[in-house]
C-alpha cells in the first residue's frame, strides 16, 4: 500500500442527496470519509471502484484503460453564470464534433450539461416510493377533510336551538362565526396534539417501510412538530367554513317556536 499524509480536516459533509455521486450511492448515503486529489489517484493507478461502463474493449494495462472508451469518471464544472454555461456547452459540442470527425466515434454530438437540480431529476434520485406516498398522503388528508366537514356539520347543527337563542339575545352573525371557528380551531389543536403522538410513532415506524438511507432522513424535529400542529389547525378551520356558515344561517324565530 501507499502512505498518505493528511493535509486537512473538514467538517462532516454529507449533503442529502449526495449530488456529486448519485450513480454509485443512489443519492442518499453517509458521504465519503477520505478525499484524495484526482491526478494523484491516476498517478498511483488506484483502481476505480464504482460503475464502469465500457463501449469497447479497453487496451492492455492501466494506460490502455485510461485511453479507452470506458466511463468511470464523473465530471463537474463550476461556471459563473448562465451565459458562461451556454458558452461551455457550445465548447463541449464543438469538441465532440471534432472527435467525431477524427473518427473516434460515429454518432453526432450528444452533449448534456446539467445543473445540480436537473442532474438529480435526470438521475431520478427521489425514489418512486416517496412520491407515491406523498400523493396517497395528500389524498388521505382530503378524505379526512371531507369527513371533518360532515362531522362538524352534524356537531354544529345539533345545537341549532342554542344558536337560535344566542341570536335572539342579540348575537350577530359575526359572533356566531367567531364562536364556531374558534371551536373548530380548538378541535384542531386537540387533534394536532394527538396527531403528534401518532407522528412520533410514524417516524419510528418509517424504517419498516423505506430503505435505511431514506428512513434516516425522517426525524421528529421542531419544524415537523410545528408543521403538524399548523396543518391540523388550518385543515380543521377550513373544513369548518361550510358548517359555520350553515350555523350562522340559523333563523332565531324558527328555533324559538315551540314546535
Amino acid at each position: 500500500g501507499h502512505l498518505y499524509r493528511i493535509t486537512g480536516v473538514i467538517e462532516d459533509w454529507a449533503p442529502q442527496p449526495l449530488f456529486f455521486d448519485v450513480p454509485n450511492t443512489g443519492g442518499f448515503d453517509e458521504g465519503a470519509s477520505v478525499y484524495i486529489p484526482f491526478n494523484r489517484a491516476i498517478e498511483l493507478q488506484v483502481p476505480a471502484v464504482g460503475n464502469q461502463s465500457c463501449t469497447g474493449a479497453p487496451g492492455v494495462g492501466w494506460e490502455g484503460f485510461l485511453r479507452s472508451e470506458c466511463i468511470f469518471i464523473s465530471l463537474w464544472a463550476e461556471l459563473p453564470d448562465a451565459t458562461a454555461a451556454q458558452d461551455y456547452r457550445q465548447y463541449l459540442t464543438g469538441y465532440a464534433a471534432e472527435q467525431q470527425h477524427a473518427g473516434r466515434f460515429k454518432w453526432a454530438p450528444n452533449i448534456r450539461l446539467r445543473d445540480v437540480m436537473d442532474w438529480l431529476s435526470a438521475q431520478k434520485v427521489v425514489p418512486q416510493e416517496s412520491q407515491v406516498s406523498l400523493i396517497v398522503s395528500l389524498g388521505f388528508l382530503v378524505i379526512c377533510l371531507v369527513n371533518t366537514v360532515g362531522l362538524l356539520l352534524a356537531k354544529f347543527m345539533r345545537r341549532a336551538p342554542e344558536i337560535g337563542v344566542r341570536r335572539a339575545l342579540g348575537a350577530s352573525r359575526r359572533d356566531i362565526y367567531a364562536q364556531f371557528l374558534i371551536e373548530a380551531g380548538t378541535i384542531g389543536i386537540a387533534g394536532g396534539l394527538l396527531g403528534l403522538v401518532l407522528t412520533g410513532v410514524g417516524v419510528l415506524g418509517v424504517g419498516l417501510v423505506f430503505s435505511e438511507s431514506i428512513a434516516r432522513l425522517a426525524r421528529l424535529d421542531p419544524v415537523l412538530i410545528l408543521l403538524t400542529l399548523v396543518v391540523s389547525v388550518l385543515a380543521t378551520v377550513i373544513a369548518a367554513f361550510y358548517p359555520t356558515w350553515r350555523a350562522a344561517q340559523v333563523q332565531p324565530a324558527w328555533q324559538l317556536k315551540s314546535n
Binding site: 418512486q128 416510493e129 378524505i143
Partner: protein, 404 residues
C-alpha cells in the same frame, strides 16, 4: 321500493348527501389504487431467481494488501470452505442474483455486427457453480476443471466456453439451436455455448433483461470476492455462524464486513426487496385506516340525520309503517347515496391510475380492483348505516305528536 320518494327527500339534504358520496368516491379512488400497488409489489417480491434459495450462504470478502495476484489465496479459501464439515459445495464469484450489483455485457451472434447487442449479466463461476446454486441444466454440459481460466481487470480475453440461460439462448438464437453456437463479447473472440440452464436472473431487481445471464468459467483476480456456499440440509445456521471465523483463521489479511459480510440467501432476498415490501405494508395500512375513517364518518353523519328526522319517522310510524319499513328506508337511502359515490369514485380511480401510469411508469389499474373496491365500499356503507338505521326504526310513533 319507494326509490323516488327517497331521492326527493335527499334533495332537501344536499349537503349531507354530497359529503357522504364524495367521501365514498375519494376513498374508492385511493383504496383501489393502493390495493393495486400492493398486488404489484407482492408480485415483484415473489419472483423466483432460478436458484435453490435454501441452504445457501454468501460471503462478501475483500483481501487486504497488494500481492501480484490474488488467485492463490482465492483457491486456498475456496478449498478451505469446501472442506468444512457442514458444506456440500462452494465457489468464488463476482456476484449472485439479487446482490444488486454485478457485471453486464452486450452480446452479438456474429463478430462484425453493427446493430445493438443483447444485454446480459455476467457471472464468474467454475464446475461447482451449477451444483452450489442448484441450477437446472436443460441442455449441454457443465464446465470441466481445465476450462476454468483467470479473469483480470481490463482483460481482453473472452471466455472460450460459456453457459447461458434459456431466455438468453432464445434471444440470441430464436430457432432454438443455441447449443454449440458462438457468442461474441465486445472483444471480438468467439465464446461457445456449452450448456443452457433453465433460469438464472440478473443481480439487479430492476433490469431491462432480467432473465439474461451468462456464466463464464473463471476465477476473478480481484481483491473483492464473493464466496457462495451450499450447506448440508439444515446446517445453514451453523455455516452462517462459523464461516467468517474459518476464513480469518486461514488468513487474517482480509475484511469481511461485520453486519452484511455473511448473509444467508434469505437475507439477500429480503434486503433486495425491502422497498417493495415496505410499500406493500404502507399501502395496506393506508387502506385499512381510510376504510375505518370512512365508516366512522358515515356512522356519524347518518346518526345526525336520524336525529334530525325523528318527527318525520314518528309520523310515518303513526301512519302505519312498520319498523322494517323504516329500517329498509334508511338502508336503501344509504345505498343510493353510496351508489352515486362509487360511480364518481370509479371515474376518479381510473383518472388517478392513468396519472400514475404516465408519471410513474406503473401498470394501469385492472377492473377487478375497481369491482372489488365498489363491492367493499357499498358493503361498508351498508354496515356503517345499520346501527343508526336500527335506532331510527326504534323511534316510537308518539314522536309524531310531541311538540319539539
Amino acid at each position: 321500493m319507494q326509490i323516488r320518494p327517497i331521492l326527493a327527500a335527499l334533495r332537501r339534504h344536499k349537503a349531507g348527501t354530497i359529503l357522504i358520496a364524495l367521501q365514498i368516491a375519494l376513498t374508492l379512488a385511493i383504496v383501489c389504487n393502493a390495493l393495486f400497488i400492493v398486488h404489484e409489489r407482492l408480485d415483484r417480491v415473489n419472483r423466483g431467481t432460478g436458484i435453490d434459495e435454501s441452504n445457501l450462504v454468501a460471503v462478501q470478502n475483500r483481501y487486504v494488501g497488494s500481492p501480484d495476484t490474488f488467485i492463490p489465496v482465492v483457491k486456498t479459501d475456496v478449498q478451505a470452505i469446501r472442506s468444512m464439515a457442514d458444506v456440500e459445495d462452494a465457489y468464488a464469484t463476482n456476484s449472485i442474483p439479487l446482490r444488486q450489483g454485478g457485471w453486464s455485457r452486450s452480446l452479438q451472434t456474429n463478430p462484425d455486427a453493427t446493430k445493438d447487442g443483447v444485454g446480459s449479466s455476467l457471472y464468474l463461476g467454475d464446475e461447482h457453480t451449477l451444483k452450489t446454486l442448484g441450477l437446472n441444466l436443460i441442455a449441454g454440459r457443465n464446465f470441466v476443471p481445465g476450462e476454468v481460466a483467470v479473469s483480470r481487470r481490463n482483460d481482453s480475453n473472452a471466455p472460450a466456453q460459456i453457459i447461458v440461460t434459456k431466455a438468453l439462448a432464445d434471444k440470441l438464437y430464436p430457432k432454438g439451436d443455441a447449443l454449440g453456437k458462438p457468442v461474441y463479447f465486445s472483444q471480438g473472440q468467439a465464446s461457445t455455448i456449452i450448456g443452457i440452464v433453465a433460469k438464472l436472473t440478473t443481480p439487479w431487481v430492476d433490469s431491462e433483461f432480467p432473465e439474461n445471464s451468462v456464466i463464464m468459467p473463471a476465477l476473478g483476480d480481484y481483491s473483492s470476492q464473493m464466496f457462495v456456499v451450499r450447506t448440508r440440509p439444515g446446517r445453514e445456521d451453523a455455516v452462517f455462524k462459523n464461516i467468517a471465523r474459518v476464513l480469518y483463521q486461514a488468513d487474517r489479511m482480509r475484511v469481511i464486513p461485520e453486519k452484511s459480510g455473511v448473509r444467508t440467501f434469505v437475507m439477500v432476498r429480503s434486503k433486495a426487496y425491502e422497498t417493495d415490501r415496505g410499500m406493500a405494508i404502507l399501502m395496506s395500512v393506508v387502506c385499512a385506516v381510510l376504510l375505518a375513517i370512512t365508516a366512522a364518518g358515515i356512522v356519524g353523519l347518518s346518526s345526525f340525520w336520524v336525529g334530525q328526522r325523528r318527527k318525520q319517522i314518528g309520523t310515518r310510524r303513526a301512519l302505519g309503517a312498520t319498523r322494517g319499513d323504516i329500517l329498509s328506508y334508511f338502508m336503501t337511502e344509504n345505498f343510493l347515496i353510496a351508489l352515486g359515490g362509487v360511480v364518481v369514485g370509479t371515474v376518479l380511480a381510473l383518472a388517478l391510475s392513468q396519472w400514475m401510469v404516465t408519471h410513474f411508469e406503473m401498470k394501469r389499474l385492472s377492473f377487478t380492483y375497481v369491482t372489488i373496491g365498489v363491492v367493499v365500499l357499498l358493503g361498508l356503507g351498508q354496515a356503517a348505516v345499520f346501527a343508526p338505521a336500527l335506532r331510527a326504526s326504534r323511534v316510537s310513533p308518539i314522536e309524531a305528536t310531541r311538540s319539539a
